[in-house]
């Protein structure tokens, strides 16, 4: 019979951290090593460092010039110059040279006339020790150079050497054992893709995060779902020199989740289940005083659990506190409900529009790793909160430099892959980021109106005039001044399975009873186009099986077709091509960029317009297939 377990009573994040960290004796676990100075960059001192010698170690010339005896210059000035004999009264010295015995000051080269090889003329008097670096000017022997727990920066290393120190006691970088588990996994190291197998990639995330924190990841081979095998591997890891052990995954309550049993039998399970989202199924345990973490399997959960429970320990083992993310105030672009009783880590896009930072939520799935990649920040929604509302100023933790936010152009509206091409082209020479949210054309216009974006991508067809975007802009952006630029003409059509097994020929086939259709949401340009086409040939939506089944992006439609959720959907050629599906064109449509006129002076926006007008961009767009860039960047309409 399969074993099933439920979570121990779930703990909140702070309680879980406090309990877990209180059971770990950092001082007992961490170790010291002695390294030559040149290997200590970024390492942390494990003991105070006192200077062994002074620097300079002897009196030395502070200038290029001649060393003299100060008293031999007394009385000399511009009107009473003096000739000195080289080798007797004066000796050439370069900066840093030891002062010759018996000489106590230096006259700069610029203030000397050389008479001949043996004589110079001076025109000033100097006092003793003038232009001389005395012993200890920089460092005095015995002085404290660095306290313990100081992270060594590049020029700290030079100071160590100049203080006569060639070796430093530093905290050892802690080894972190990472044990991937799961019979369904194949290692990314095999460099291959296999149907029905999942590429194991959490371990590369966890080992990279470990490296970034200064630890040394020890990644084990994938352990299949076999309790006794996992038991022996974990036991082996616990007695190894790893200071922290991570088991990924098997931390939830599934039938093959042995981790909690194993940890109970080897040591003490402190926490199983934490009310954070993502990250809930984390297990926190100690075995022989070592921290052992049952890390969740979903990629985002896995990362958040690592950051909350493993990362701080890695830093503490090196004598320093973990860095804190910068926080800024942001305004959400819409209401964001959240589950009461769970602390949520909501990934958001952030951009600066006029003088406000606006935050648009990204998908919330625990397995959607790309949300972390696309996000500029994380909003943490307290477990006691039911969410945040549209105009409520809240705090966001930044995942990028604040400077990057200022260099971010926010594009909200209909999705098109050509926006990715702008994003790529603009990174070639300029440090500008594109943050794009795909919400459909109409919502893009509304975002402009709400002041939460710089640009809207839109392809809204006026059913009466047959003209794109203008009437919608007039209606929805009333009172605003905007410019409309042509972006691309693109092929819309029906996306069908490879080989078109149902023999679909066009729109009129959508009424066939054997065809399941997938639609786009109202307000999207594609939906408007479909409705226009249906009206032209007098087909009622009621007769289409799946007309109410709506998706929000071209890609989601294509995925539905690929996966058999639907036989046919409406979308652009690029989406069909991406998933290797077939495509039946139904017509070209005009996709434009709508930009408030006030932004046209912004160098970022100028850059974007430059790019879309460039032959290079047009060439790339053309090569995608299904696009016509002939008018890209042309001014189409101005709304005053």
């Amino acid at each position: 019979m399969l074993k099933r377990q439920t979570y121990l009573s779930m703990k909140n994040l702070n309680d879980a951290r406090q309990l877990f960290f209180s059971k770990i004796n950092i001082d007992m676990i961490r170790e010291i090593e002695v390294l030559p100075v040149e290997k200590t960059l970024g390492r942390v001192t494990a003991a105070p460092v006192f200077a062994k010698i002074s620097s300079p170690y002897f009196h030395s010339s502070a200038m290029d010039g001649v060393a003299v005896r100060a008293e031999s210059t007394y009385g000399v000035n511009e009107r009473k110059p003096k000739i000195l004999e080289l080798g007797k009264d004066a000796i050439w010295v370069n900066t840093g040279d030891p002062m010759p015995e018996g000489y106590d000051s230096v006259i700069m080269v610029e203030k000397i006339n050389q008479i001949d090889e043996l004589h110079i003329e001076i025109k000033e008097s100097v006092y003793p020790w003038h232009n001389v670096r005395k012993v200890g000017e920089d460092i005095v022997a015995t002085e404290l150079l660095f306290p313990q727990n100081h992270k060594l920066r590049p020029y700290d290393l030079g100071a160590l050497i100049s203080a006569g120190i060639f070796e430093v006691k530093v905290w050892k970088r802690p080894k972190v054992a990472i044990i991937p588990t799961g019979s369904e996994l194949i290692s990314y190291k095999e460099n291959r893709i296999e149907a029905g197998k999942i590429l194991e990639f959490n371990s590369i995330n966890l080992s990279s995060l470990t490296k970034e924190a200064g630890g040394i990841p020890i990644v084990y081979d994938i352990v299949p779902d076999d309790e006794s095998k996992l038991y022996s591997i974990v036991k082996q890891a616990v007695i190894s020199d790893a200071k922290i052990i991570i088991i990924n995954a098997g931390s939830s309550a599934g039938s093959k989740d042995y981790t909690v049993h194993i940890l109970k039998s080897l040591g003490e399970v402190l926490v199983h289940g934490i009310n954070i989202m993502p990250g809930k199924p984390t297990i926190l345990a100690t075995v022989n005083g070592k921290p052992v973490i049952g890390n969740p399997g979903y990629s985002v959960s896995s990362i958040i659990s690592f950051e909350q429970f493993v990362m701080p320990i890695i830093y503490w083992l090196q004598g320093i506190d973990p860095p804190e993310r910068k926080k800024i105030k942001v305004v959400p672009t819409r209401n964001i409900p959240s589950k009461l009783g769970m602390e949520e880590f909501l990934r958001v896009n952030i951009g600066k529009i006029r003088d406000k930072y606006v935050a648009t939520p990204l998908p919330r799935g625990a397995g959607v790793l790309t949300t972390l990649i696309k996000a500029e920040g994380i909003i943490r929604i307290d477990s006691l909160s039911e969410g945040i509302s549209e105009y409520e100023e809240v705090e966001a933790e930044l995942l990028v430099d604040e400077k990057e936010l200022i260099n971010t152009v926010v594009i909200i509206g209909s999705h098109d892959i050509c926006i990715d091409i702008i994003a790529d082209e603009i990174r070639k020479k300029d440090n500008i980021r594109i943050s794009s949210s795909n919400v459909g054309s109409l919502s893009g216009l509304i975002a402009l109106k709400k002041g939460i974006s710089h640009i809207a991508g839109s392809h809204l067809l006026d059913l009466d005039t047959g003209e794109y975007n203008i009437s919608y802009v007039k209606k929805y952006l009333k009172g605003m001044k905007v410019h409309i630029f042509n972006f691309v003409l693109r092929e819309q059509g029906l996306i069908v399975k490879k080989g078109n097994p149902k023999g679909i020929k066009g729109i009129k086939d959508l009424v066939r009873q054997d065809i399941k259709f997938v639609n786009r949401q109202p307000g999207s340009g594609t939906r408007v186009l479909l409705d226009y086409k249906l009206k032209q040939i007098n087909i009622s939506p009621k007769n289409i099986n799946g007309y109410e089944h709506e998706e929000f992006t071209h890609m989601a439609v294509a995925v539905d077709v690929l996966s058999g959720v639907a036989d046919c959907g409406i979308g652009i050629f690029a989406a069909a091509k991406a998933l290797n599906l077939d495509f039946i064109p139904i017509g070209k449509e005009q996709y434009d960029l709508i930009i408030p006129s006030e932004f046209l002076d912004d160098p970022k926006i100028k850059k974007i317009l430059e790019i879309i007008q460039s032959p290079r961009f047009k060439k790339r767009v053309e090569s995608l297939g299904g696009y016509d860039p002939q008018n890209s960047g042309k001014l189409f309409f101005i709304l005053q």
Copy 2:
């Protein structure tokens, strides 16, 4: 005859940078390499990266539970549960498992009653694709994962793998050739100290800075002062695979500074001499299109020149902009004059006192590396400015995290090595920094009054009462509420050469004509003590040879004695011990910490008091010799 040269007409910093960078063709110099994903952490993409496969790669269960056909659950609810047969109607799945063929949704394990090994009871109906992660939920094949010039973060690597990408095109880390020159140098790699030789440590600074910027330093053996040798080494470096060549030093106008000749004969010297301080003698040249920098010899100059001219190129060669230092507004603690026509990089200590960041200038010498180490920031004083004034708010570039400034306790006053012990002890468990400036006792009290420090260290003897500090505090801190805590009792005395060659026995010998004395500045506790002792035995200062020769720290006095500037000086035992000098005690004195009462609730200040009361601290102080910690941390006096 020795060759002498003068600087080409000096350039200002911006002109020099502009000219130099405009002559370097980054695109021509930089190279691409293809690396396995696991080696790309922190590397920068050299081409856009598009997903090869979708993620998930197949439909998979989003939950632990049973896979079912949605239609077999229709009509089921709490009051109408249904029994399903395992293996036929339902199949156990764990999170991430592929959906079994023919099943389209998942019921969570928590919502299932297991009846026996073959049967389960369900109490809810599900819709198709419920709890299923569809193909491409995270990543859709062909989508842009990263534009070019994207620096890969830890979880970016996981995303690459999950998109089926095992290798990435990244910019090669550029090699930087670093050529140390100078016959007076010995390499730090020899791990030894030699009289009259300078330990070469600029190359460890430059190579560490190179590493930090992502470059690969290639450090050459030290080249002696020999023009033809240097010529052939530089030529060799230029044709090597190094992308940037740094010659350190030989960039100034000294007789052995061949660098500029060599570069003129090999390529084009663009700039020689820049009006920055430190950093003036920098040479900027190109040879065969490669940047070659004649880097100045003084350690701080060398670093500033690197940061201004080399570091940006290293980043650009990797496709990214150099990071910018955070800037904050600070208030200088005193007037800071600066040389007109020179842009100065002034190192400053910064601390937060009440609600202001106050900045205290550190010594300005181009060779005083410890100023960079102790500094929290740099104030750049424009070449058109003659300096900044005491209450003028100016910008400082931060060398530490802003958070660290809040964790910094500013101690201004008399110097004592026991403050270093606090600084070390407080870093053991707490991330608190001590920023201490040594200006003498009285100036320390004035700093408290001006509100630019947290604590003053003081040992001011009242000549009338024989009591320490109280009368001074009453006079100079009138109107403030302060607490005075005993810190240490310490031995003052005369510092003399090792073996006491002049047979000095005590204060009364200071009038001997064969003895050159070195004194401390007025306002220092030590000066007050000396004057008190002189008065006691009726010696007039006029009769002491060197009474007017003043230094600002104990260590400076000791250095004067060591170097023969003086035969004898007044100071504490620790200073004599540091330089291995002899010491003739003249009496114990009381060194106290003066703290405004309002700061006593500050956890940082509490921590300091805790430390100085601890047996551990007292033991360390005692072991130094010349100290008596019996009263350390005792409250001595309160000024209300």
